[in-house]
Symmetry: C2
Subunit: 354 residues, 2 copies
């Protein structure tokens, strides 16, 4: 729906995100960086090494490697664990990024067979994991983005960890939004990561950088991942535009995750008071939730267009039509705090007035 995205782009503030993805994001990150700060060079040099060492420490892992993308990092992680065990099968959630957003890269490039665990509308259970056939690696995504950012309890994570350890199944963490999960667990990143053999984190979701990812794990695993990074063409002569901006926005936002989550909880509560509107989870556990509206895309879209035009607040630029309702994703970032309470009241008044 063209008008939906157009009116969304014309709003001054939005419920989601850290603001527009534009060159200013790069410029702000580099304002304080000296001109003579040296580039990394094919994975070497202090610019990349310092950030890798810092993130290895944050994640409590022996070693860490900077990658241009999580797609590249995670396929490589699974490949390494497959090679390590001599098995060509891994397991993950049916709505895992590798399954729905990567054009079957894992299968096409590595001939690794993924086993989809559980139902796509909920988290996988320990029982489902226990029933898996022999696999090299289980990938868990924390939070599970495509179902609104759900999280298992820490106790469930420990039980999954123990099962995998006993069965000699490598456990990999898709932590694209790991930092966003920490308020729920009330733990440090390293305490969560200690349950996993390898971890990927992203720097352009809650952190709001330009692009980039870290893959962390044992030293030998990370060294092998560098060989694969070269094979993939991800070992660029210079990754510093992503490294230095990732570091900048990590420092800027790492301690704001509790605030984003609190805002998500409050906002979801207000939406859930509306007729024909509900969220999943009902009470968000991270900074994100899915927002559902009864009605078809045309009808719901028109309503959004009108509200966005009249209030100047961006709700969404994109709706997914389901069976009798439409859905979108809300992901709280810095911009939410720029919305005045009057503006927000105005939004909900408009929703109420049909």
């Amino acid at each position: 729906m063209e008008r939906l995205i157009d009116t969304y782009r014309q709003t001054n503030v939005q419920l989601s995100g850290h603001g527009k993805r534009e060159v200013g994001v790069l410029k702000r990150a580099f304002e304080q960086v000296r001109e003579d700060e040296p580039s990394d060079q094919y994975g070497q040099g202090k610019t990349i090494r310092q950030f890798e060492e810092k993130m290895a420490h944050v994640l409590g892992k022996e070693s860490a490697v900077f990658f241009p993308s999580g797609t590249m990092a995670q396929q490589i992680a699974l490949r390494i664990w497959c090679d390590e065990t001599g098995k060509k099968a891994v397991a993950y959630h049916p709505l895992c990024h590798l399954e729905i957003h990567e054009q079957d890269g894992l299968k096409e490039l590595h001939h690794i067979e993924p086993i989809l665990v559980g139902d796509e509308n909920r988290l996988m259970t320990l029982e489902e994991i226990q029933a898996l056939p022999d696999i090299a690696c289980l990938l868990l995504e924390l939070p599970q983005r495509e179902i609104g950012g759900e999280l298992p309890t820490f106790e469930e994570l420990v039980a999954i960890h123990e099962h995998c350890r006993d069965k000699r199944i490598y456990l990999h963490l898709d932590g694209a939004r790991l930092f966003e999960s920490l308020p729920y667990y009330e733990k440090e990143a390293s305490e969560i990561c200690a349950l996993f053999d390898s971890v990927y984190v992203s720097f352009y979701k809650g952190i709001g950088g330009i692009a980039g990812a870290i893959l962390a794990g044992p030293k030998a695993f990370c060294e092998t991942s560098k060989v694969w990074k070269r094979r993939y063409g991800g070992d660029l002569i210079s990754l510093y535009p992503y490294i230095l901006s990732s570091d900048y926005y990590y420092e800027l936002r790492k301690d704001k995750m509790q605030g984003y989550r609190d805002a998500a909880v409050q906002l979801a509560a207000r939406f859930n008071e509306l007729e024909g509107v509900w969220t999943t989870p009902l009470i968000p556990v991270t900074n994100m939730f899915h927002l559902h509206f009864q009605g078809d895309e045309e009808e719901v879209g028109e309503r959004m267009v009108r509200i966005q035009q009249e209030t100047g607040v961006g709700i969404t630029g994109h709706l997914v039509e389901k069976d009798g309702y439409c859905s979108t994703e809300i992901s709280i970032g810095d911009v939410y705090s720029h919305i005045t309470s009057n503006q927000l009241d105005d939004v909900f008044r408009q929703f109420n007035s049909k």
Copy 2:
């Protein structure tokens, strides 16, 4: 040799390159870019589309796709031509980038068997190409970097093109340094590319950008390459740090290639006058040549260290020891023009005075 690279880094000017690879390269490219210039988004948006269309036009191809690296772009090009023909074999020079710098990515990720054509110390010949078994694709690198940037004549290129056309072998151009070759051919890029089915060009060699590559060819080929780019994890949410800087440095340097080449020819002539020193090619055909010194690494290295310290001119930071001599690569860029004629005379006086 630690002291060689250290003294090289301490020099103010160097025979090769466009200056130090540091954050200033990024800052200069973005100085004039507006803060509200939108990011590309997973390969979409005007920032990436405009540059792709521009380069498709420059290279005379129907379509073009921006990639983070040539490694990724070229493996994908060869894979597509293999799939197109149903064959799993390609051919290239023994010192092709895919053979020596990519950790066997083509074999490990695609199980494509490369056939190495000809002798590693010279260009491949038409006769050697005619003697090849059935292959999907022949890759030609213009200029052949690892032998000092040699180039076949245009007539030889035409003959290779006609042979491949007749035998239904796809012809791919590794044009990492294509722009640097144009003065030799006295032709437009599109006239060279017309002989090839697909073309890759780089933006951080002679062009001196941060990183990035363009893959160009028929529309269907390019569309398929985008699917593979996604599989590889190269379809980043934002590639603009590389795209906009590639464009900036392309515009800055595309018309300077003749000057770089003229300087390379003059500089090589002066080296060839020295005793125990010679270049390949003897007369450079692009902005680059290999520079050889009789003696072992220790002896030649010490001499370089002294000359670099005494003249402030960087010759090299890295020597490769061969059988009785040492080699390095010289690649002329903007910095060469900052060396005064007195400084250069000083360098050659030092070389003469042993």
